[in-house]
Amino acid sequence: MATIHDEIDTWLAADLHGELSDSEQTTLHAHLLDCAACRKTHQETKVMNKILEETLAQEKADPAFEQRMLAGFRSRAAQRSVLVKLLIDLMRLRATQIAAVAAALLGLVQIGRMITGEPVTAPRARERYAESEVATLQPPESRPSQAGALDKSDGIAAGWPQDLALEPPASLVAARSKFGKEGKVSATTAESAKAAQSEAGDVAAYELPENATVGKEAAQSPVESPAPELANRKLIRNATVEVEIVSFDNAVQKITAFANEEHGYVATTDSQKQANGKLKGQIVVKVLPENLDRFLQKIRSLGELKNQTLGTEDVTKAYLDTDARLKNAHVMEQRLIDMLKTKTGKVSDLLQVEKELGRVREEIEKMQGELKYWDSQVQFATVTISLTEKDMEEPAAFLLKERAQLSLYTPDVEKIYNETKSLASAKVQITNAQLNRDYSGRVSAQLSLLIAPEESDAVIGRVKGFGRVENFQMQTQRIAQGGSGMSENAKTKRDKVELNITISREEQEQAFQQTSLRIRTSSADEKAKELRALAEKQGGRVRSSTFSSDPNGREVASVSLRVAMKNYPALMQSLNSLGRVENVSVQRQDRADAQIDESNAPADISIQVYTQGNIVTEESGLFATLRRTLAQSANAIMWSLRMIGVAVAFLAPWAIAIIGVIWMVRRVIRARSKL
């Protein structure tokens, strides 16, 4: 029972306060019986509890305490008016707070809209529009009651007159509904509708547009002439068909067979042979009109149908006209013949009659011819068949066009220009020759030649030998003639070769290799002269040279040379005799596209010959350093002097003022003490 013993205070307190369970009580009492120390504590605690109960009971709040508290509360928390209270309570509700935040956000959005100028009323306008649309779509029967409810502007927006509110006449409604339901209106219905229309003429605007047109059409339809019988019509039927076939002759045979089958005949055949041996032609077939469609079906089986048109010309009216006129002419003729038979009147009159008769007869013949022609046309349909053999576009031949571009570098442009010009002969044509010299004295030339194919290789070879070839390009083009695409049978022909030559001076040529290096020697000037001699020995040319020397005794001579590539290694070798070669950098420009004569290509070398100069420079010598140090210290002294001056000027007035005040005070004190 060590636990109880250790926590005896807790157990005892709980026991006294009646907070122990029955089992706990039993345990505690058992322990108290065993343990004398705890028994003592138990006694003391009991006394303690009693004292506390007694003492604290006196300190308890008096009976009027609650009343005082209430009074105090009432006086302090003054009753607010109902409205304010409600407002405050509302503010404290979470829902209200959320609503307020939402309202604030909405307000911000609205302000944003106003600032950006977005139309705030747009959605409402759209709504209105939708409403008016619905109104327009509404069936007329239900409309009047609706229109009454709508305000004026809405009514106008919907396109309905104001007096729509009135009930339309019953007959009109009946007629309209009839039109709405029936697409086609028979003649009798149309007549009744016409009557209804005239009756309700003043309210015509009321009709829906579709209904109105239907009504009008229906009213017009009986005026049209009745459909004539088809059999008496004179119809000329024409068809044109374009077919691609494999063999022309075969197709012609088949067409002839088809024509016979359909009781027709081949009217004309015509064919042409193309340069590539393919045939192309046109066949005109006449078949009975009723067999035309079947015939066309058969034609389709010949090959690939490219195009087909079927046309029908109605010549009934013209035929009837001509027929009527012919009858008139016959009557006229008969009358004139009668006139001649009676033989009365003057001879001149008879002659006149005779002449007239001749004219009438001529007319009759013309008209009869016309009718015959039409009859023949009507009797047979004309089918024009265009036949083309496949691969019509296959080329007949190929032409090889060669074009060469050649760039040359030479020391003397004019000489080469003239030499090239002298190549001109029957087989070599010069189409363009041009020699340019610009203000700085640079010369270049351009030539264009047309060379016969068999001569081309020889001529190009000769021109290449005139100078250094910088670039040579040859372009070959195969051009199909008389068609496009591939053809196995076509021949290939070589055309004249076009050669464009550009000649420029060597100087303008970009160096194939650029080298720069430095040589340290004892005397720059002397060594530079030696260098020139060396360069000339290797066939190089000095392009530029400069010489300079600075106060520290450093001399620099720069020489830039151009030498042929074949002499380049020898020259580089000999440079070593001049002094120590330093900082060699080589840059090579390999042009993949050009064919280059490498041994003759120019190489640029720029060489700096320099001397070391004094080890100690003028500025870092002993005296110079001393002088600088002295100058600096003198400067520092001057600066501190200046600062002292500034400080004195800054402080002096204050010092004077303070001294003055002290002096005055002293005088006053002294004067007082004297008194």
């Binding site: 926590e7 205070d9 807790t10 004292i51 506390l52 109960e53």
Partner: protein, 177 residues
């Protein structure tokens, strides 16, 4: 918690003055006990209860759960009392002298004084627990709820408080026996 009680707290939170006054009637005594336990002065404790009630009325909307209302009231009272206690300690010496000079009730015995000083030596929470127990005779469970203690903690607190007082008062008790 009793549903009617809960409803009362809810109404009070929502600004029902009558409900709140009812709560004052039922709860001001425990509040007083707490304040007295901390301050050991009836006048100051009364003021503290008065202030706490006013503050509770003003800030009643902060209580989201009506069940927690009594505990919340107790917390306010404890904080207020603590504030007053702290201020009292920093009050200038002259004022304290005047205060202490104030005549004590005539029936104050030596034991009473010893008891009060022993009480003053206890921690604030222990004092509050003691006064709640001895003023209002509340059961442990209610005291725990009011002071925001965890289940069963009060037993230890009261046990230790009693033991500590017993030890301090032992000489006086011995003389009494």
């Amino acid at each position: 918690m009793d549903p009617s009680e809960r409803e009362q707290y809810r109404a009070a939170i929502h600004g029902d003055r009558e409900a709140f006054e009812m709560i004052i009637r039922t709860h001001s005594r425990p509040l007083f006990a707490i304040a007295y336990g901390i301050l050991q002065s009836r006048e100051e404790a009364e003021d503290v209860v008065q202030d706490s009630l006013a503050k509770a009325w003003k800030t009643r909307w902060r209580v989201r759960d009506p069940e927690k209302f009594p505990a919340w009231l107790a917390t306010i009272a404890r904080h207020k009392a603590h504030d007053v206690f702290r201020k009292r300690r920093t009050v200038p010496l002259s004022e304290r002298l005047i205060e202490t000079v104030e005549p004590e009730p005539m029936n104050t015995t030596a034991l009473d004084q010893q008891l009060h000083s022993a009480l003053a030596a206890l921690p604030e929470l222990h004092r509050a627990a003691l006064t709640l127990r001895y003023f209002e005779e509340m059961d442990y469970r209610t005291i725990e709820d009011t002071l925001g203690l965890t289940n069963g903690a009060l037993r230890g607190i009261l046990g230790r408080a009693l033991a500590s007082m017993r030890k301090q008062l032992r000489p006086a008790l011995a003389s009494m026996d």
